[in-house]
């Protein structure tokens, strides 16, 4: 209704707008609540199944026979657990570093390629993500084990005398985990690199920067958010990773997650398991929080 029309009707004017607006706001609020409630089933399901039990585990980690206790945490200060912690961090650092070394050039190449080539390369990066984790672990077992393909080929070619120890140890676990994690490095990196305008590099060249200098001083800093996102995603996934170390580590590589599984399955020691779990979750959240403060949480998840 235009102002003229409103003025033309007696009794309708500025005075009546206030109650109308209030009614409109109430209706809007009611609609917003109704729309918000559509998310409730999903939220409740996730809360009940993924979050609440973990809160419960957290509570259990402080409970002993006589009420509140820190005993479960004190027991973690033991050479065995500390060794596990060291292995977990060493492996996670190593895998993340290798993923950067292999993933950065790959993402760079995809970002620089013509659309068709880029699409093909992306498909080749996505293929492993869609392939079952177990299939990929099996493939590495086939390749790396004592009488596996690599040892057979190398022996037949006369390069080695006896079989190399390639799997059921740290080496095999590292190879397998890099294979699983690499796409999670490449995808956020590529997303960041695609957004870098080619004009920046052209400008750097015009202004006299050598290609190497332009790359390090212009391109790399611009790709840093993507690199950060990739590093964090890979590192955090590595910290809590279970399947690949359990299959390719052959019991010789004890990760924090495997310690949790063992404590539950063999010892049914929920106090210790929950304390181990709280430590793992705390480390994970701490890293995410720190990085969230540095680059922004949404950016990380959005890029992934």
């Amino acid at each position: 209704m235009t102002a003229d029309a409103a003025a033309a009707v007696p009794g309708r004017g500025a005075r009546d707008e206030a109650p109308n607006a209030a009614r409109y706001r109430t209706a809007e609020r009611r609609e917003s609540a109704a729309l918000g409630s559509l998310a409730l089933p999903a939220l409740l399901l996730i809360f009940a199944i993924a979050l609440a039990p973990n809160l419960w585990l957290g509570w259990m980690s402080f409970r002993g026979a006589g009420g509140f206790t820190l005993a479960h945490y004190q027991r973690l200060w033991h050479p065995n657990y500390l060794l596990t912690l060291r292995t977990t961090f060493e492996l996670s650092f190593l895998v993340t570093a290798i993923c950067v070394a292999l993933g950065y050039p790959l993402a760079y190449m995809i970002a620089q390629s013509r659309p068709r080539v880029a699409a093909l390369l992306l498909l080749l990066v996505l293929f492993p993500v869609w392939t079952s984790l177990l299939v990929r672990c099996y493939a590495w077992l086939v390749l790396l084990q004592r009488r596996g393909l690599i040892n057979t080929w190398l022996t037949d070619a006369g390069i080695i005398d006896g079989p190399l120890r390639l799997v059921h140890n740290f080496t095999g676990t590292t190879i397998g985990m890099v294979h699983i994690m690499l796409p999670f490095m490449v995808l956020p990196l590529y997303a960041a690199m695609r957004a870098i305008s080619r004009d920046y590099m052209r400008a750097a060249a015009n202004l006299g920067a050598s290609p190497v200098k332009a790359f390090w001083q212009v391109y790399v800093p611009l790709s840093l958010p993507g690199l950060m996102a990739g590093v964090i995603i890979v590192f955090v996934l590595c910290l809590g990773f279970y399947v690949t170390p359990a299959l390719l580590g052959g019991g010789r590589v004890m990760m924090w997650s495997m310690q949790i599984e063992r404590t539950v399955t063999y010892h049914s020691d929920w106090g210790a398991a929950s304390a181990l779990g709280v430590v793992l979750l705390a480390m994970t959240l701490l890293i995410l929080w720190l990085v969230g403060r540095l680059v922004g949480f949404r950016r990380i998840m959005g890029a992934g």
């Binding site: 917003s32 729309l35 409630s37 559509l38 998310a39 089933p41 999903a42 939220l43 399901l45 996730i46 809360f47 199944i49 993924a50 039990p53 973990n54 419960w56 585990l57 292999l102 050039p105 790959l106 760079y108 190449m109 498909l123 080749l124 293929f127 492993p128 869609w130 079952s132 984790l133 177990l134 299939v135 990929r136 099996y138 493939a139 086939v142 390749l143 393909l149 057979t152 080929w153 294979h179 690499l182 796409p183 590099m201 052209r202 060249a205 920067a209 050598s210 290609p211 809590g240 990773f241 279970y242 399947v243 299959l247 949790i260 929920w270 398991a273 779990g277 793992l280 994970t284 959240l285």
Partner: protein
């Protein structure tokens, strides 16, 4: 060719050969191991030899003949189908809700949705195991479906949310101003236009359930053992070429789903 400039900074292809070699090797590293499993599954030998000494389908016969593999496959496919339905419906509703409600609670909801992706799998698994022990859902199909849905819903929400971002909500407003109720407007105007991302989300949900390992190790035992759980245990013991046959079939499923997902999304643009 090698002398031509490859970049804006006039580096020639010749000076980047090392980069092409490195990237080529990395791509081979990513895809070759899984592909190597395919010829091995058609080998007639018990032992891992490449190329195989002879060809046969005996490992496929062994897979289809073994009751425990067949049961596990049925459990996995059923769970994946139900998970797809549950998580696609709930995830799409949630994404629509977060997109339209614009409430400050959206931030909290967002944190809840990323939680299953951020919390280490082993913790989610033992938590669910503990919960299910109280309510008797361990080793049941509904238990598996609910657990897998929790892992799949965030992926559906993310996928559908990105679809909604590219959708012009005023189209739904037009439908409503012409008298359609909100549910009707959503189903007949909005849903057909975000169809692509909903399908992509559903495919992701299916593959997430089918490939899920850690949670299934804890909550899917007995006659409700999933394919992944049986495979995990088989890989720990002795490596039987039957696994190569199963792996090849799983790779076929992955390629099929990835292909579907890509072609659906390509048709959009």
């Amino acid at each position: 060719m090698l002398r031509r400039a490859a970049t804006e900074t006039q580096i020639t292809h010749g000076r980047r050969v090392w980069l092409y070699v490195l990237v080529g090797l990395t791509v081979l590293f990513l895809i070759l191991p899984s592909l190597l499993v395919i010829p091995l599954s058609f080998s007639d030998s018990r032992f891992l030899q490449f190329p195989p000494p002879g060809w046969s389908v005996r490992w496929y016969e062994a897979y289809f003949a073994a009751i425990e593999w067949r049961d596990a496959t049925i459990v996995s496919l059923t769970a994946a189908a139900f998970t797809t339905v549950v998580s696609t419906v709930l995830g799409t509703l949630a994404a629509y809700s977060l997109h339209t409600a614009r409430s400050r609670l959206g931030q909290v909801a967002y944190l809840v949705f990323v939680a299953p992706l951020v919390i280490p799998g082993i913790l989610v698994a033992i938590g669910i195991f503990l919960l299910y022990a109280q309510v008797g859902l361990n080793n049941t199909l509904p238990g598996i479906v609910l657990a897998h849905s929790v892992m799949a819903i965030p992926l559906v929400v993310i996928t559908v949310a990105s679809g909604l971002k590219n959708y012009d909500m005023s189209q739904e407003m037009v439908a409503r101003s012409l008298g359609a109720g909100r549910p009707w407007a959503f189903l007949t105007v909005t849903l057909p236009q975000i169809k692509v991302s909903v399908i992509a989300g559903a495919l992701l949900a299916f593959i997430t359930s089918l490939d899920e390992v850690v949670i299934s190790l804890f909550i899917a035992g007995g006659d409700k053992a999933t394919l992944t759980r049986r495979m995990f245990n088989a890989l720990r013991d002795e490596i039987d070429p039957t696994i190569a046959a199963i792996s090849t079939l799983l790779i076929a499923v992955s390629v099929l789903l990835l292909g579907l997902s890509q072609s659906v999304q390509a048709r959009k643009g």
